[in-house]
């Protein structure tokens, strides 16, 4: 509990740091809230006084009435202005703060190591950046607007009431907690019903998810009736438990309203008796009654706001957790500029593992001369992507060094390193935008002719031309509507346009038909001309023609050599080779 408190406190301090630039606005806003509350509370007193001017025929003090009404008018105008200015200030503080937090989070995302991103599902991080920040904004805004003025209203009302009549104030103070207790009691006793409801709803969503995703299969097996029956069973259970949850929770309002009406009646009784004995004016009673209405409301609101604010802090904590994730090691400050590598890659005594318990690559060395072709082979899941991760510095080696043209990659900026490496992954990813933007991703200022030339070289020009808007066709993220092969060709065109000296290529496997694959092979071959290339290889021709073959198994490089030397060795490679290719 105490730990929770300390954590909440720390989060609150962080939030305050973000708010600091807006401190002036916030101060003015609080001041305005004070003004609003004081005036709002003062108006009923003035109205009470005005009513006291109107006793009976012949006993109306018009002079005093007029001056009182004018004061009321002035108060109202001032209140309205203060209210409007306050909410404008609050909105600014909140939305600016939230924008700053989002930007910091996103900027940090660009610096996070792949290790973090790989280990956390996209949806989770997105939900932190969007939904959590939104909830935080709502809570913050509510806190600014309602918490402070709520507390001020309660205190102010108390002060005003005490000055009017301490006796009646006591009655109000004693009865009010009942309303809070009732609200609390209902919330507690409906909790279990809500848990059951969300569990059943989850169950139903899972079924809907399954049925919608596999709708075609359901129809192919003519299972519509069975699925519907299964659905109805859950639906019926959901109906029953939702009814209980919704009904019981909807009792909160009528019940607190009832308690409030009791407070109102108690005030009426004591006030009227006091007025009858002359210790309170009728205007005073009227002010009291309107206070009795006002006083109970903030209590119900505040309990709601506090939950919201706590919720907001919890959300803020989740965003800060993301912002606090250690960033990747920064690029060295005095990194030497490094353009246009020749393409010599030296891997020197490298060890690497994702987790310390499971060592993967150990003491691995390799020297690749400019223009050489390295094939990485091995069964699926053997860790071929690990090599890509290390070469691109998506992950850093644990020990040893990787150098390009004699420069250790750790001492280059990532930007310089990556500009020298082109990468085509089997997992094709395209950005949302036009086909042209996608091809020009690495070279946004490329000319139209260059882009078309790159597309032609990648055998992509033909199908692009057939798309509704050609190169201007807008594709959604992941290139919905394009086939796997077409996406792959676009990814190749993207690299084709920059053609850096070192290439990392992931050969396509089963998802592409053999003829498209031939075209991709052809495009690959064109790219590799005179470039150092690392190929995750599936095809025998690629492997045989490679200058070096790395054989990987269970995440490790177990053999390396040429096709002939490895076959002669009679190890895992020759086994693999005979099983897979020789039949």
């Amino acid at each position: 509990m105490r730990k929770d408190h300390a954590a909440q406190h720390a989060t609150l301090l962080r939030v305050m740091r973000y708010i600091r630039p807006h401190l002036l606005k916030l101060g003015v806003s609080l001041l305005l809230a004070l003004v609003t509350v004081a005036l709002t509370l003062y108006v009923p007193i003035l109205i009470g006084r005005a009513i006291d001017c109107i006793v009976s025929p012949g006993h109306v003090d018009f002079a005093l009435l007029k001056s009182t009404l004018i004061t009321i008018g002035a108060c109202i105008a001032l209140t309205a202005l203060a209210q409007w200015a306050q909410s404008e200030l609050n909105n600014r503080v909140t939305y600016d703060t939230v924008r700053d937090i989002r930007r910091d989070a996103f900027a940090h995302l660009q610096q996070l190591p792949l290790k973090y991103i790989d280990a956390h599902p996209t949806g989770e991080t997105v939900s932190r950046m969007i939904a959590d920040v939104d909830t935080f904004a709502d809570g913050l805004l509510m806190g600014f607007t309602q918490l402070f003025s709520g507390v001020m209203t309660i205190l102010g009302t108390l002060v005003f009431m005490v000055t009017l009549s301490p006796m009646i104030t006591l009655v109000v103070v004693l009865v009010t907690p009942i309303s809070l207790l009732v609200a609390n009691f209902i919330a507690k006793s409906t909790h279990d019903m809500f848990v059951l409801q969300s569990k059943t709803r989850g169950e139903q969503t899972a079924l809907i998810d399954e049925a919608m995703n596999e709708q075609k299969l359901v129809q192919a097996f003519a299972r519509e009736d069975e699925t519907l029956a299964q659905f109805d069973e859950i639906n019926e259970r959901l109906r029953a438990c939702s009814l209980r949850a919704v009904f019981f929770s909807s009792l909160t309002n009528p019940c607190t309203r009832f308690v409030n009406s009791l407070v109102y009646a108690a005030v009426a009784l004591t006030g009227a008796l006091a007025a009858a004995s002359g210790s309170l004016t009728i205007g005073g009673l009227s002010s009291f009654l309107s206070y009795a209405n006002q006083y109970t409301k903030p209590f119900n609101e505040i309990s709601g706001v506090i939950t919201e604010v706590q919720n907001a802090l919890a959300c803020a904590a989740r965003i800060f957790e993301l912002i606090d994730e250690p960033a990747q090691t920064p690029d060295p400050e005095n990194a030497e500029p490094f353009e246009h590598a020749l393409g010599e890659v030296v891997i020197d005594d490298v060890s690497f593992s994702y987790t310390p318990e499971r060592p993967l690559i150990e003491d691995f060395s390799l020297r690749v001369k400019p223009g050489q072709r390295v094939a990485i082979v091995g069964p699926t899941g053997c860790g071929k992507t690990t090599m890509i991760n290390l070469l691109m510095r998506f992950y850093d080696v644990n020990s040893g060094a990787i150098s390009v043209d004699g420069h250790e990659t750790r001492f280059l900026t990532r930007r310089c390193l990556r500009r020298n490496i082109g990468m085509v992954l089997q997992d094709t990813w395209l950005a949302s935008g036009t086909i042209r933007d996608n091809i020009a991703m690495g070279k946004p200022d490329a000319s139209e002719a260059d882009i078309i030339a790159a597309a032609k070289a990648a055998h992509a020009h033909g199908f692009i031309r057939r798309l509704p808007d050609g190169y201007n066709t807008v594709i959604r993220e992941n290139g919905e509507g394009l086939s796997q092969g077409q996406k792959q060709l676009l990814c190749i065109a993207r690299v084709m346009l920059c053609l850096p000296p070192i290439l990392i290529l992931d050969e396509a496997t089963s998802s592409i038909d053999t003829r498209t694959e031939l075209r991709i092979q052809d495009a690959f071959a064109k790219m590799m001309q005179g470039r150092t290339s690392f190929i995750v290889a599936h095809r025998l021709s690629t492997i045989r023609h490679a200058d070096v073959i790395l054989v990987m198994k269970d995440g490790r490089v177990i053999e390396q050599g040429t096709h002939a030397s490895l076959l002669a060795q009679g190890g895992f490679y020759s086994e693999l080779y005979h099983a897979q290719f020789a039949q």
Binding site: I47, I51, I54, V55, P57, F62, K66, L69, I76, Q83, S87, E88, N91, D96, R102, R103, F106, L109, Q110, Q111, V126, I130, Q204, I208, M212, K216, L217, V218, E224, E226, L228, N235, E236, S242, L243, V246, S250, S261, L262, Y264, A268, L269, A272, L273, I282, L285, S286, N293, F394, I421, W429, A431, E477, S483, G485, D513, T516, L518, F581, Q583
Partner: protein, 578 residues
């Protein structure tokens, strides 16, 4: 949305009673200021303490009766709203299942899931709140005005004026902000997609050093979002101060008019207090009503989206012919068949003609996107040919009842999907009445016996959602078994052996050939080795037949087939010469 109201049928009683009791509660509230007036005029000014006590007891009693009616109203409202949403979900589910593949493709899975879950929930809340509050708030507002008229006509005119002005303010602000809020939501979506894209494409984006460009794009989008949020905030922030000013200005006017009337002797002090109290009630209710209307517009939009799904009719008309048991559908004939998917630019199949006899094995081969899956999809009528005819056992598929048709055809789709349950429950999809013996026979042919035997629970081994707890190859063999349990006239293997090694693939094909009730079998594949021994091979390219014949014939005469064969067998030939 209006069309959805029919699903409230049967809850007519609740729909009337809920607002009625709510109004009852409101009318008790409306009496309170009158009681207070009576306390002041009769009790305080008249000096009658017993009257004060009596009136306060009346007040408490009104509160209690109000509570009782409110609880009743909440119950009826909840019952109607939840009954309504449960029925809506049922109807939606049944409706979606009746749609053909074409409609499912256009709508998309994620849309359908949203419609069935969050949209229905929003509508449920809308109906619930509507039944509870929609009648209550106007009732209180106008009730307060009517009560004012019973007290004093001149003063009541102020009420009429105020209500009109307040309505104009509240509704014009709402009308102005609703589209603004929608744009804010749209901009938030664009911020979301920027984040998601950045994470999904992290490797590529970093490989192309796009970090700064991405941050810039994101900052631009958040700036626009903030600007929009502030703009809409500014407008909606005007609501509270404006209504406050209007109401209190009215109070000033009321008290002044009241003073004049009291001076004339036509109004008492207590009645002035009552009028003032009614004015306060109006303000509270109007704010509630404004919030309610925002909620209702949201719910209404969700309702419209649901209604638009319900409006979609299946583009296929069901046939009437039910083939009898002695009427096999095993012979398949395509008669100049073309298929143009809805919204597609070009035909996916163009002038396909072939025919096969019962029990034959048909290979369908060709590149990605050449129309292989489209071709076999026409047999169980997943889609209808846009031109030409597909005949099974001599009957046009369009005239056979869909359910009967699909009972005779088993398909093993590319993506091997199992459903949550057990192995047995999955296999029984093919035939709910199959015996264990029949299940084992299907498993044997599908080369899946060892999959089942390796599991401790055998046939009763649990299957997680999507079959996650089985490997790709295991799933594939189980889905083949599931299809075989049907004992179909036609069996379609749509590239379903891709996760199997060559040896298992071959044993599977052999086992199917040796089945006693041998179905006409379509094998769709990219592997020449899978279709090599088929009785007929159909070679497709860009939706057209590039060749029909046996392996030997095609190898001799069909250039596309030669090319496919060469691209795959190169490896082996190279190996032979190595």
């Amino acid at each position: 949305m209006k069309k959805l109201f029919v699903y409230l049928k049967g809850y007519g009683r609740e729909c009337v009673l809920a607002p009625l009791f709510k109004m009852l509660e409101a009318s008790f509230e409306l009496f309170i200021p009158l009681v207070v007036a009576s306390i002041i005029d009769g009790g305080i000014l008249g000096g009658d303490r017993a009257h004060i006590v009596r009136m306060v007891l009346v007040m408490a009693a009104l509160g209690f009766v109000g509570l009782a009616s409110a609880v009743t109203a909440q119950y009826f409202a909840a019952k109607a709203a939840i009954g309504f949403s449960a029925r809506l979900r049922h109807v939606l589910m049944a409706h979606i299942q009746s749609l053909s593949y074409t409609e499912i493709d256009t709508l998309g899975t994620s849309t359908l899931i949203t419609r069935m879950t969050s949209d229905v929930n929003q509508v449920q809340t809308g109906v619930n709140m509507c039944l509870r509050l929609l009648m209550r708030s106007p009732f209180v507002v106008f009730g307060a005005m009517v009560m004012a008229f019973t007290i004093d006509f001149d003063c009541a005119l102020i009420f009429a004026g105020v209500i009109a002005v307040l309505c104009i303010i509240v509704f014009s602000i709402m009308l102005a902000t609703i589209p603004m809020y929608r744009r804010v939501q749209g901009q938030l979506d664009s911020v979301t997609s920027a984040t998601r894209e950045n994470l999904n494409g992290v490797r590529v984006l970093r490989a192309f050093c796009k970090e700064d460009a991405e941050a810039e794009k994101f900052n631009k989008r958040t700036s626009i979002l903030t600007r929009m949020q502030l703009a809409v905030g500014r407008v909606s922030a005007a609501m509270n101060p404006l209504t406050y000013v209007v109401i209190n200005a009215a109070v000033i006017l009321l008290i002044y008019t009241g003073a004049l009337r009291v001076e004339m002797g036509s109004l008492t002090q207590g009645e002035v207090v009552a009028l003032y109290n009614y004015m306060s009630q109006i303000l509270v209710e109007l704010v509630k009503m404004a919030n309610l209307i925002i909620l209702l517009t949201k719910a209404w939009a969700c309702g419209d989206r649901i209604a638009s799904v319900l409006d979609i009719r299946s583009s296929q008309q069901d046939g009437t012919c039910v083939p009898t048991a002695d009427m096999p559908l095993g012979s398949v004939q395509f008669d100049n068949v073309s298929l143009l998917y809805k919204g597609a630019g070009a035909e996916s199949l163009d002038g396909i003609t072939f025919s096969v006899h019962p029990g034959q094995t048909v290979g369908v081969i060709g590149g990605t996107g050449c129309g292989k899956t489209s071709l076999v999809g026409l047999i169980p009528r997943f889609y209808d040919a846009t031109e030409g005819r597909v005949l099974l056992g001599g009957t046009d598929v369009r005239s056979i009842r869909k359910e009967a048709l699909r009972e005779r055809i088993a398909i093993v789709p590319q993506k091997a999907v199992l459903f949550k349950g057990t192995i047995r429950s999955n296999l029984l999809w093919g035939n709910a009445n199959a015996t264990d013996e029949e299940l084992h026979e299907a498993l044997r042919i599908a080369q899946a016996l060892d999959v089942v035997n390796a599991k401790p629970g055998r046939l009763d081994e649990p299957v997680e959602q999507g079959g996650r707890n089985f490997s790709g190859g295991q799933r594939q063999r189980l889905t083949i078994a599931r299809a075989l349990v049907k004992r179909p006239d036609i069996l379609i293997l749509d590239d379903s052996a891709s996760a199997l090694d060559y040896a298992t693939d071959a044993s599977l094909r052999r086992a199917i050939r040796e089945m006693d009730h041998r179905p006409t079998t379509f094998i769709v594949s990219q592997r020449a080795s899978s279709v090599r021994y088929a009785d007929v091979i159909i070679v497709l390219e860009d939706g057209r037949t590039a060749g029909v014949g046996t392996h030997e014939e095609l190898l001799a005469s069909c250039p596309v087939y030669q090319e496919i064969y060469a691209s795959q067998y190169e490896a082996e030939e190279v190996a032979q010469h190595a």
